[in-house]
């Protein structure tokens, strides 16, 4: 399942012994994460395990207070989400961060608009037609065909909105796509569609995906590798093969801490 394991062995993303506290609460305490190129890597954990803090540090929303974040083997210190995006890391948050009164093209290109050619472009004029055309192209490559002339994204279904947010992310994400609970608010059919989309992104776009979830069936359905966080530490990193719902549950809840050491057997 891991496409390019033979190609390179430098992780796309490596998080080493990262720490982050909020007041007296240690959200992340020496947490590690290693995401290899071309894999769908699931980040699992119960509420409060540090998943959100971890992705916020990776995507430049929060600064780490200790440890290192390496992108393609180079240490990075993002001061803003914008810097992380410039380096090819795109994050789709649960709230999707779509402007509901703008259409799909305007949303996908917001902040990186296509300007009109020539003098008008220099004066700040944008090329809406080209943005819509490219947006439709990206969406249809994901298997989504929005009805022609469909208006603002506020009128779309939950799955379609998720698709627009993902399309925006893969339009700009060159290295890593972070998806925060992408199926949480969806019904069964739309959930399956989004999962197919994630696989398509890995297979056709060769993009590495970090999937935050606490839905185990989803994880078993698409993930190549799993890292489990618990109380701010990574307690398990393993290929998905050989893992069971039971073993993951144990890692998430800490039930197997007594009998195995930190990164010990998943079995």
């Amino acid at each position: 399942m891991i496409n390019s394991a033979s190609e390179q062995s430098i992780p796309v993303l490596e998080v080493k012994a990262v720490q982050r506290s909020f007041g007296h609460v240690r959200a992340l305490d020496c947490a590690n994460l290693k995401v290899m190129p071309g894999e769908i890597h699931a980040l699992l954990g119960d509420n409060g395990a540090g998943k959100s803090t971890m992705i916020k540090i990776i995507s430049g929303v929060l600064a780490a207070q200790g440890g290192q974040v390496l992108l393609d083997g180079q240490e990075v210190h993002f001061k803003s989400p914008h810097e992380a995006r410039m380096r090819g890391i795109e994050t789709v948050y649960q709230d999707l961060a779509l402007a509901h009164t703008l259409n799909a093209g305007e949303n996908i290109f917001l902040g990186s608009e296509i300007m009109t050619r020539g003098l008008l472009g220099k004066l700040g004029f944008i090329d809406r037609e080209e943005m819509s055309r490219q947006a439709a192209e990206t969406l249809s490559s994901l298997g989504i065909n929005l009805p022609a002339g469909s208006g603002c994204v506020g009128t779309l279904s939950g799955g379609q909105m998720q698709a627009v947010a993902i399309a925006r992310a893969i339009k700009w994400g060159r290295r890593l796509l972070i998806l925060d609970e992408p199926t949480a608010a969806l019904g069964a059919k739309q959930r399956e569609l989004i999962l197919q989309m994630i696989e398509h992104i890995r297979d056709a776009r060769k993009l590495t995906v970090l999937l935050i979830s606490h839905n185990l069936p989803d994880v078993f359905r698409v993930a190549d590798k799993v890292t489990v966080l618990r109380l701010g530490q990574d307690v398990l990193t393993s290929p998905i093969e050989g893992l069971t719902t039971d073993s993951l549950m144990r890692a998430m809840t800490g039930a197997n801490e007594i009998c195995t050491d930190k990164k010990g057997g998943a079995h």
Partner: protein
Amino acid sequence: MNTKNLTSEILDKDTKTEKHKIQFFENQWIFLILLGLILIFALVTPPGSFFSFRNLQNITLDASTILIIGSGMTLLLIAKGIDLSTGSMAIFSAIAAATIMVQLAGTPDEVAQFQYPHLGIALAAGIIVGIAMGALWGAVNGLLVVKSKVPPFIATLGTMGIALGLAQVWTGGINVQHVPLPFQSEFGLGKMAGLIPWPVVVAIVIAAFFWILLAYTKFGLHTYAIGANVEAARRVGINTERHICILYTIVGALCGVVGILDVARFNTASVASHTNTPLSVISAIIIGGTSMHGGRGRISGTIIGALIQAVLLNGFIVMGVTPFWQNVAVGVVLLVAVQIDQIRRRSN
């Protein structure tokens, strides 16, 4: 590929399809109301009184104040801001501009005898200072909202009182006298090509500028995005605080323009004007279909909203009905417009 087509069908099924009908209605109804009002007034007034070129000049002149401030305020409302201090900013700017013009045009004795040795420089300085004063108040509003996180309604309510109060302190409540007469005769009461009053020309140019800015440029798109989802705009790297601050400054500068036009039209600057301006401007914009909830709106709507108010005021005067009825009529149209906005939001 098969599965993809299937799945996209699943998604498409959820899309609401009856949008188009609603949209046509919501975009056109307000224009039909304007036409209806013009038709009614044309029928009930003596021929050649309401429906005449001369009266058209009056109506557009009345609409120009609302339209000038409203052009900037439309962008501000779309970005989920609001400004209640527009009237006070216009008064303050008018007094600043008029004072500068009187002081620089000549010595007090010369000016009192209608002699203006330094007319050109006095007018230029007055215009620049007037617009700058407005922009300054607007920037204060913007900084209060963005940096001090004061809700826009409260921040601008505060500056509304401060700007008006300072203008009163400055003048002692007395109108600024001896504004150079040519400013009124040549510009304030003058007409371009003898047809269109200059203040109306200014309003048309400003409205056209902001129409284009809003509809076709990156700045316009970012304005919509900030109103629709400020967090989303921030995440894609838009400097939302700077953008919002610029919008308040624009509204302030436009109030400065209105203040200068007041000086030109009335040959004086008075602290006792513009009591209705802030609410008239906001009414016109809302009547024009711009949403109070941000992310939605058009300058074309604001133009129609401003014209509806001017037509109502003018029509009642020409009919001989007390213009107080204008307030009633504008209120009714406003409430209908807000109701339409609510229905539209629910349908999304």
